[in-house]
């Protein structure tokens, strides 16, 4: 493996031989492959602790092996497939994750050092994902539906309210005090009341998520619109701009960086409210799944749900970053997520 990879790095293949630094990086990549292979071997050939009945130990070991093989193939192909170039930068993380997986496997499944059932081994989580995927998938979809409804309503209302307050003194006069009074209240404080007032727990939760999203979006949109350089308006007015043009073509684009800060804060808030609402009222979603798993002391299910929740939340934040990068590509020096 190592010799063939290095051959690809020779000038014969039209590439420069790796220097000392890249040799070290290359070492890390090989170490990652070795570590995943070791984790696979440990899982497969070290018998589980006595009196245990993990049915997915072999599957987990095979999974680790597949990861090792995938990294190796990526290393082999990366000089031909540009998309795989990033593997070099990821190598330290791949190595660390392999070590973490191996240590976790050993202290739980093999040695039984950590108390069960609070610290399940990786194969138990794999088991949950494989055996309970239908219920988990339903929960993810239910959560996403609820979140999307609440977030989109909250973001839209917050954006419109923010522009209105920033633009019109009369509207600001009425909305601003309400915002200051009610805005800082955590949306979850409305929970008991909301479940009572709204006809269904779904509509109540949608309202709470919209509330949690709407406040930061409103405040930041408002401050963005209020902070627009007045020279932009002067320029546009002398060029014959109408009020409508000033709002839509000057104020809103200029305020957009602020709006996105509000959208990010709102998204974070909405996650928190979503989980709480699902735990306390809604009979579906990942929050409900967590609650249900706790009732059965099914800790592996909780870890699996947490893992999936982390992936989903992180994915949504990434999506919002992508949208921002696209819309605000004119800015220089954007933070990368």
């Amino acid at each position: 493996m190592s010799s063939s990879s290095i051959e690809h790095a020779t000038p014969v293949a039209g590439l420069v031989l790796p220097t000392g630094a890249s040799f070290r990086a290359f070492g890390t990549e090989l170490a990652a492959v070795a570590a995943w292979s070791t984790a696979a071997a440990l899982t497969l050939f070290w018998p589980d602790k006595p009196d245990s009945d993990f049915s997915y130990t072999a599957a987990l070991g095979t999974g680790f092996g597949i990861v090792a093989a995938a990294i190796a193939v990526a290393l082999f192909l990366r000089f031909r497939v540009p998309a795989l170039q990033r593997i070099g930068g990821l190598a330290p993380w791949l190595l660390a994750l392999a070590l973490l997986a191996a240590v976790w496997e050993v202290v739980t499944a093999k040695l039984g050092l950590l108390p069960m059932p609070f610290f399940p081994p990786p194969q138990s989580i794999l088991e949950v994902v494989i055996d309970d995927w239908a219920r988990l998938g339903d929960s993810v979809l239910a959560s996403l539906r609820l979140l999307a409804g609440g977030y989109l309503i909250g973001a839209a209302v917050g954006f419109v309210a923010g522009v209105a307050i920033g633009w019109s003194r009369a509207i600001g006069y009425w909305i601003h005090p309400i915002l200051r009074f009610i805005g800082p209240l955590p949306a979850t404080a409305w929970l008991p009341l909301a479940f009572f007032i709204f006809p269904s727990s779904l509509s109540a939760s949608t309202f709470l998520i919209a509330l949690a999203t709407g406040f930061p979006v409103t405040v930041l949109t408002w401050s963005g619109v209020a902070g627009v350089n007045s020279a932009y308006y002067d320029i546009a007015r002398t060029l014959g701009a109408s009020q409508r043009f000033l709002v839509f073509k000057v104020a809103i684009p200029a305020a957009l960086p602020h709006v996105f800060v509000g959208l990010f804060m709102g998204l974070g808030n909405s996650f928190a409210v979503l989980v709480v609402a699902e735990m306390l009222g809604v009979k579906s979603g990942l929050g409900w799944y967590l609650q249900w798993a706790q009732g059965w002391a099914a800790y592996a299910n909780m870890y699996a749900a947490l893992l999936i929740m982390a992936l989903a939340c992180s994915g949504l934040i990434t999506l919002l970053f992508r949208l921002r990068d696209r819309l605000l590509s004119w800015q220089k020096g954007l933070v990368r997520w």
């Binding site: 350089n229 932009y232 002067d234 320029i235 546009a236 002398t238 060029l239 014959g240 043009f245 800015q331």
Partner: protein, 270 residues
């Protein structure tokens, strides 16, 4: 004069045509700001008449109220006393026939150079039928190849050229220049002064320039109005009838410069 922006038509400078310029009448205008509840006088009894196609420079110490006068002319603010007229019509609101070029180019950072230049036409809903005017204006100021660039990619001089193009696209009858070259380095500044004269001669608009640079005022303007310190009053009016294009070493300009300096209270023996 509508086609005046097209460079190709006029390789040599045509004789100045003043048909498209507007007349400007400033009639006994006084203005003050409110500062801590007390009036802060800025302009006192300013009267000024600019003929169609004339290039008038307002010269005065910084902070004297020159820029305020320009904001009144642009229609961005209303004077407390007195009236302003363009072609005999009272100035009550901004209008694209009077375009301001500010000291800061203030391009919209989210728009490309082309879309910045197109701003006026877009605001007036005329962009679709006049797209070629944007191209022409950008070519005229030498930014033809930078149409797709974003403002943060431009140098100071290029940004100010883009701002000039944004103004010229509207075919203004009165171009209001608020120290447009004030923040540029001296080489760019000298080059752009010459370009400004050429543009003005070609397009025939009336120009009102605010500056605190005596050389610049004398190089560009038919008439230099010297303002006092705040509150600004008209202190002197110097007619500069040297033909265009002018030369910086012109001894007559040196003479006028001494005169201007003496009005400003600066003893220019050197």
């Amino acid at each position: 004069m509508v086609g005046a922006l097209a460079v190709g038509e006029a390789p040599q400078l045509p004789p100045p045509s003043r048909a498209s310029g507007a007349t400007l009448d400033i009639r006994d205008v006084s203005h003050h700001f409110e500062l801590d509840g007390r009036p802060l006088p800025v302009l006192e009894h300013i009267s000024l008449h600019a003929k169609a196609g004339e290039f008038v420079a307002l010269l005065g110490p910084s902070g004297c109220g020159k820029s305020t006068l320009l904001r009144l002319v642009a229609g961005l603010e209303q004077p407390r006393f007195g009236q302003l007229f363009m072609d005999g019509t009272a100035i009550e609101a901004p209008d694209p026939s009077r375009v301001v070029v500010f000291q800061d180019p203030t391009l919209f950072p989210w728009r490309t150079v082309w879309r910045n230049a197109a701003l006026g036409l877009e605001a007036q809903g005329r962009l679709r039928s006049h797209r070629e005017r944007v191209d022409d204006a950008l070519r005229l100021v030498g930014l033809g190849e930078f149409a797709a660039a974003l403002p943060h990619q431009l140098s100071g001089g290029m940004a100010q050229r883009a701002a000039l193009a944004r103004a010229l696209v509207n075919d203004p009858r009165l171009l209001i220049l608020d120290e447009p070259l004030g923040k540029l380095d001296s080489l760019t500044r000298i080059a752009m002064q010459a370009e400004l004269v050429a543009l003005w001669q070609r397009a025939g608009f009336t120009a009102l320039l605010v500056t605190h640079d005596v050389e610049e005022a004398l190089f560009l303007a038919d008439r230099v109005i010297v303002l006092s310190e705040r509150p600004a009053r008209i202190k002197a009016e110097i007619v500069n009838d040297r033909p265009y294009p002018r030369h910086r070493g012109d001894s007559h300009l040196a003479e006028l410069r001494r005169e201007v300096f003496s009005h400003l209270g600066i003893d220019a023996k050197w």
